[in-house]
């Protein structure tokens, strides 16, 4: 069974990776709607998919945060991807299987996945 003693090794390995990380990477924010409506619609597995994908892609310049109900409950789960200097992009009806594409395209390559956005949904 896993023990917390393993944390030290993971931390030290992370520190090594951090030193070879390219400087100048800007912090990207991913904000997940975590009110009652978001949770009931499936925000929790979406959040866990985001964390898993960030770990898999070895991305550590992304902050994941939460927000409350923004009044668009029928569109939950909703996530915002906020790249510094750009307009925030709002993804709606997000499911865990959409997360790898959003991370690879938007977070890594700076190309929003238009078909998942609120703009595409409302057209």
């Amino acid at each position: 069974m896993k023990s917390l003693a393993e944390l030290a090794a993971i931390r030290d390995k992370m520190k090594q990776n951090t030193t070879i990380r390219e400087d100048g990477e800007k912090a990207i924010r991913i904000v997940v709607g975590m009110a009652t409506c978001g949770i009931a619609a499936g925000a929790r597995p979406v959040l866990n998919a985001i964390t898993a994908e960030l770990a898999k892609e070895n991305i550590n310049h992304v902050t994941v945060a939460q927000t409350g109900c923004i009044g668009r409950c029928t569109l939950e789960p909703i996530i915002d991807v906020i790249v510094p200097g750009e307009e925030p992009v709002t993804y709606v009806h997000v499911t865990p299987d959409k997360i790898p594409k959003i991370i690879k395209s938007h977070v890594i390559n700076d190309v929003p996945v238009m078909e998942y956005t609120v703009a595409a949904y409302e057209n």
């Binding site: 917390l4 993971i10 931390r11 992370m14 009652t36 994941v64």
Partner: protein
């Protein structure tokens, strides 16, 4: 309604976060002798007045302007009462709030606990500055997970919600929970 009780826990803990809690204690206690399942969320947030406590279980009487309360407590109350159980609110302004829901464990309408690991990890990931103490008890056995302890082990310059740390903690918590309740979650 939520599909599983662990989602109710996540939702109730959001109220604690909105109430500016710095330390949130979550207990899940299964007791086969008493045939009960108890969920308790205790925080040190800003608390509620007596008047608010009396109205808060009603979804149509809320302090919507502050968004402190919503359907969350109503959902938990309904889930508990469906099984013949109860919900208890104890709150003191500037001290904190404790919500205790008691379920009749073997009642057919008792929803599954569900993915407790995902709930704990979601809370920890999204709120690195808040401390959580999670205790899962199944009869005489117990698993405790305290973020203060983990932060001490990591040291000051490593965030708890770094993806590799979160990945490890997910596996760690899940293994211990599955070990306790004997089920794959």
């Amino acid at each position: 309604m939520m599909d599983e009780l662990s989602l109710n826990i996540l939702d109730i803990a959001q109220n604690s976060i909105a109430a500016n809690a710095r330390f949130i204690e979550i207990d899940v206690i299964e007791n086969d002798d008493d045939n009960t399942l108890i969920i308790r969320v205790k925080d040190d947030g800003k608390g509620m007045s007596k008047e608010l406590v009396e109205t808060v279980e009603n979804p149509f009487v809320t302090t919507r302007t502050t968004r402190k309360i919503g359907l969350g407590i109503s959902f938990l109350k309904e889930a508990a009462e469906l099984t013949g159980g109860t919900i208890e609110l104890d709150s003191t302004p500037d001290v904190g709030t404790t919500i205790t829901a008691t379920f009749i464990k073997d009642n057919l309408d008792r929803q599954p606990i569900g993915d407790l690991t995902a709930t704990i990890i979601a809370l920890v990931t999204l709120n690195p500055s808040i401390d959580f103490n999670f205790t899962y008890t199944v009869n005489e056995n117990e698993f405790n997970f305290n973020t203060k302890e983990i932060k001490t082990m990591l040291g000051d310059d490593t965030e708890l919600n770094n993806p590799p740390i979160v990945q490890f903690l997910t596996g760690y918590v899940n293994e211990h929970i599955v070990n306790l309740n004997g089920e794959s979650i």
